[in-house]
Symmetry: C2
Subunit: 141 residues, 2 copies
DNA sequence: CGTACATCCTCTAGTGACTAGAGGAGCAAG
DNA sequence: CTTGCTCCTCTAGTCACTAGAGGATGTACG
């Protein structure tokens, strides 16, 4: 169990930037670590794990509040994982929805770009479609 | 050419909320309209078109600065539409990238949810994968 | 032991694109 | 004339950071 890791090293190891780590501490997502004589933050392996968990969760698109819940669940191994399952499932539904919406958007943008006359603005499909909602097939989100 | 439209009506017609219209004016995206004697904003059809253009562009995910460019292009029908094409193409590339990333994310979340034991946290795949980056197949954006 | 230089500290303010709310004025209908 | 709606300005809050100022501490080298 390593102790006394500096913020710079825990940042490197976890992939979370130094100011972000301090920000997480400020909002209470990461516990305030003990300080050295010179007032520097002193982390241990447990903090590194926590930060890695956070970074990974953020990469997967979870919000800070969701991560708060997930972290507290992680600390209680005997509790039902129902809540974690619910958070992940809801998030999955969001992601699916977003993909559907973005795919519709992609088709619309393709139609715009392909239809572009590459000439003057007057005959440009890009501007044309944006100006006239009726010509657009995208009604997503 | 209708004139003297209230902010409420132009909001209804364009689908842009009243405070958002005022915000667009503040950041210079929409020109400041003339005022009535009672100091109310007085819009015309041209403003409505502009707002519709903006709303539609926002729905398609364009940023305000991009919309600024697109709007100024729309006002110059004889200019080459190269710039508009470039903006749309770049945006299309972004969207494709985002879809790819979200799709990878979707698979990872599915793996988490499906693998969930629906029992205690200790054996929960959701928490497990989040905690251990090595078990995750998602490494996107 | 001195001196660079890297790393750390706190604090405030800025980002994008709005949204919420306070506190007040104008306007149309009954 | 009053009720209730819309409108006005202004400030501050949202989310998840990021940037920068201004200063203290720690470390490597000569």
């Amino acid at each position: 169990m390593q102790q006394g890791i500096t913020i710079g090293n825990v940042s490197q190891a976890s992939g979370v930037k130094v100011p972000t780590i301090r920000y997480y501490e400020q909002i209470g997502l990461l516990p305030s670590p003990p300080r050295t004589e010179g007032n520097r933050r002193s982390y241990d392996d447990r903090d590194l794990e926590r930060l890695t968990f956070i970074r990974h969760s953020r990469e997967l698109g979870f919000e800070i509040d969701e991560i708060r819940t997930l972290l507290s669940l992680q600390d209680q191994p005997n509790v039902s994982c129902e809540d974690a399952d619910a958070i992940a499932s809801r998030h999955l539904a969001d992601v699916k929805q977003k993909i559907a919406s973005l795919t519709a958007l992609q088709h619309e943008l393709e139609r715009m770009v392909v239809g572009c006359s590459h000439g003057r603005v007057e005959t440009c499909k890009v501007i044309d479609i944006l100006a006239d909602h009726g010509k657009c097939r995208f009604h997503g989100e």
